[in-house]
């Protein structure tokens, strides 16, 4: 391809997305799945959008890609801990091999 830096970022993003979704399948319970997928898929999609910016430069699509990077980097952690809190409150039990669960202890203590 005629733009080596942009191609490099796109390939990096594709590989990170793949690792994130493998984590979504292999990890044992909801919370670990949320962690792996949030980290890897967030950075992977940001890398793909950065590759688009390298390809297009300062055109309409490139600027929108930069805005989208900021938006995704701000909202993905928020949705992840909204989901984790909702799963804990709705009674999804952690995995049997988990070591400590302070949060469940505190919720039960409150009620």
């Amino acid at each position: 391809m005629n733009n080596p830096l942009g191609s490099f970022f796109i390939v990096l993003g594709l590989i990170l997305n793949f690792f994130g979704c493998i984590g979504l399948i292999r990890f044992p319970d909801v919370y670990t799945r949320l962690q792996s997928s949030a980290k890897c898929v967030m950075l992977g999609t940001c890398a793909i959008l950065l590759g688009l910016f390298m390809f297009k430069g300062f055109t309409a699509a490139g600027i929108k890609a930069l805005l989208c990077i900021v938006f995704i980097a701000l909202t993905t952690p928020v949705s992840v801990h909204a989901l984790a809190k909702g799963a804990f409150r709705s009674g999804v039990k952690p995995w049997d091999g988990s070591v400590a669960d302070e949060y469940v202890k505190d919720i039960i203590k409150k009620r």
């Binding site: 949320l34 309409a60 801990h81 995995w95 070591v99 400590a100 302070e102």
Partner: protein, 176 residues
């Protein structure tokens, strides 16, 4: 007043970036639209709790904002570095034959008090180093953090993680 002007310019900047080739038609529409939005969202940069807190007044003025910019750039660099490190860690754990995880939720004490500081701390903890914030307890001043791998003999009610301490030290300079 300064909050109002800042809000107006930020919405105007977002409008320009969204409709990128800045022709006069787009710019005039943007002036009107940013004015209408900032009528509703005037108080986005000041929260009522922070005003009553002692020590909040001395951070006023444009000089303090300018002083925060290098700290913010340093924060972004540290965040990117930790994020890449966490991604390599997760990729290693995913491809290992028996998935080496020992998950669990622990408590992490924090000294931050302001809204924006706590939000940024929780978000950056979620993006880095095998941890995700679940909830914030504001009275006790602690975060409930879900860790991917807990080492042996770690006290679960008060955990010290070097990455989180680094972020806390930077965010204290920005938001407190």
């Amino acid at each position: 007043m300064i909050s109002y002007i800042l809000t107006y310019f930020i919405w105007f900047l977002v409008w320009i970036l969204l409709t990128w080739p800045p022709t006069p038609k787009n710019l005039i529409t943007g002036l009107v639209a940013a004015y209408l939005v900032s009528l509703f969202k005037m108080d986005i940069f000041r929260s009522p709790e922070n005003k009553s807190r002692p020590g909040a007044e001395k951070n006023k003025g444009p000089a303090s904002y300018i002083k925060k910019i290098p700290w913010f750039l340093y924060y972004v660099v540290v965040l990117l570095y930790e994020c890449v490190k966490a991604n390599i860690d997760v990729a290693f754990r995913v491809m290992h034959p028996d998935v080496p995880v020992r998950p669990g939720t622990v408590k992490v004490r924090t000294g931050l008090k302001s809204d924006a500081g706590l939000t940024f701390l929780a978000n950056s903890v979620t993006l880095t180093s095998g941890a995700a914030t679940v909830d914030v307890n504001r009275e006790k001043g602690c975060l409930y953090v879900h860790l991917l791998y807990i080492k042996d003999g770690l006290d679960a009610s008060a955990v010290n993680i070097p990455a989180i301490n680094k972020f806390e030290k930077i965010l204290e300079n920005i938001f407190e």
